[in-house]
């Protein structure tokens, strides 16, 4: 199943590759990008998730970007209130194209929990 997903995902790559490398790229080129039996490629890297979550938090107007670290707590360290937390979680949902159910969203009150949730979610993109 993971191999199928990996193959399907790589089959979609040629369109982007052709645009980037020029249209005289041969069709054989994309076969080289398939790594058989690798189930890790269809997900975001941890660093990518961390960077994007921190960008979302830093771009929030009430937040001082200098204070934002991957472990920072929204209400205790950044001085935000629960409505601001709701706003940040909604912004993270939009960034990663997720729908976080209320029960899980209530628990996210720090950058580390947000990063963990997004990283472990299979549908993050």
């Amino acid at each position: 199943m993971a191999l199928r997903n990996a193959v399907l995902r790589h089959l979609r790559v040629p369109v982007q590759n052709l645009a980037v490398r020029g249209s005289n790229q041969s069709q054989i080129g994309f076969l080289g990008s398939i790594r058989a039996f690798s189930s890790h490629d269809d997900h975001l890297s941890k660093q990518d998730v961390v960077d994007r979550v921190l960008d979302v938090v830093k771009s929030f107007p009430k937040v001082d970007p200098a204070k934002v670290t991957p472990e920072v707590h929204f209400q205790k360290d950044l001085g935000l209130d629960s409505l601001d937390t709701v706003e940040i979680v909604m912004a993270i949902e939009e960034e990663f194209k997720l729908e976080i159910p209320d029960k899980e969203a209530d628990k996210i009150d720090s950058c580390s929990l947000a990063i963990e949730y997004v990283f472990n979610h299979p549908m993050s993109s």
């Binding site: 629960s82 409505l83 709701v86 939009e94 209320d102 209530d106």
Partner: protein, 87 residues
């Protein structure tokens, strides 16, 4: 008795309903107005006032859901420039 969790959940429902709006301006307004409305009543302590504000919020949720249906019937034909990612 309306508790904090219910208020937060109502806020999220309003935001999620507003997100479906196809028009950029009205979508942003819905988001802004939700936060303004909740922040305005953030410090209420009187139970009856809290209940009244919560009931008003529920009414507004119905309004947003109705408005979404109307706007989805005639979506805008072009993307607003603010929705384009220009670098």
């Amino acid at each position: 008795m309306v508790d904090k969790g219910q208020v937060i959940r109502l806020c999220r429902s309003l935001l999620r309903a507003g997100r479906q709006l196809p028009d950029y301006n009205i979508r942003e307004y819905a988001k802004r107005r939700t936060f303004d409305g909740f922040r305005m009543n953030k410090n209420l302590t009187d139970h009856s006032k809290v209940e009244k504000a919560y009931a008003e919020g529920k009414k507004q949720l119905e309004v947003v859901e109705r408005v979404v249906k109307v706007y989805l019937a005639y979506p805008p034909k072009t993307k607003n420039i603010m929705e384009l990612k220009l670098h």
